[in-house]
Assembly symmetry: C2
Homo-oligomer: 113 residues x 2
Amino acid sequence: MKRPKPTATALLQGTLDVLILKALALEGLHGLGISRRIEQISSGTFQVKPGSLFPALHRMEEAGWLSSSWGESENNRRAKFYQLTPTGRRQLQDETEQWVRISSAMAQALETS
Amino acid sequence: MKRPKPTATALLQGTLDVLILKALALEGLHGLGISRRIEQISSGTFQVKPGSLFPALHRMEEAGWLSSSWGESENNRRAKFYQLTPTGRRQLQDETEQWVRISSAMAQALETS
DNA sequence: CGCTTCATATAGAGAGTCTACAGGAAGGGC
DNA sequence: GCCCTTCCTGTAGACTCTCTATATGAAGCG
């Protein structure tokens, strides 16, 4: 019981990637649009801050899961749009399956036995 | 696609704590016993390496969730036994509820929409 | 022309897990 | 007595990822 825990840590480490991939599954979006989409499909549970989002996008683009192109947002702002690559779509499948495995193992482990 | 991903990262960051707490919910165990219990209650899905386990135990003891005492293992080896403190038991409840919230939000987000 | 909003970006800190290694002590084989 | 394996705890260093905080620029509004 050292400190009252300053950081909230809303996101579980490792879940951001699959959420970004899922957000882009239907259509390409720009950065803040991805953030809003994630918040939407999780009913507000996950709120991705810019400082988490953009490094993740760069990392995933470098990994070959996303491709980007500059365009204009719905508010006439310069915005970078991201799309899933075929590799990224595969990655979405893989990470989704991995999540199912892990979460069912967790559910089993946390069952009151 | 830089590297073929050297590390496997079997465990999701942040899930080790609640697994340790759950492993100790029924009875006190020593370090490697906790590791084996976690592997058992997750049907082999989670395998906690010593290099992850012991720092976590020290951290959690310092946080006041666990108390420890030296004793003898079932194989006559010197072993440190850990028990849940009342604070730790509360922490187990909190983290379990948090896991339920997060995993259901993830399930909803990853639903094919 | 300042203010707000939108949009992208980086630096630095912090946390947590991993690999790899180390040491001590018990038990078995010979 | 001596090796060798197993059990048990532990640390060091690297690595990855998320967070807070801050910065920049451009559009729109009054």
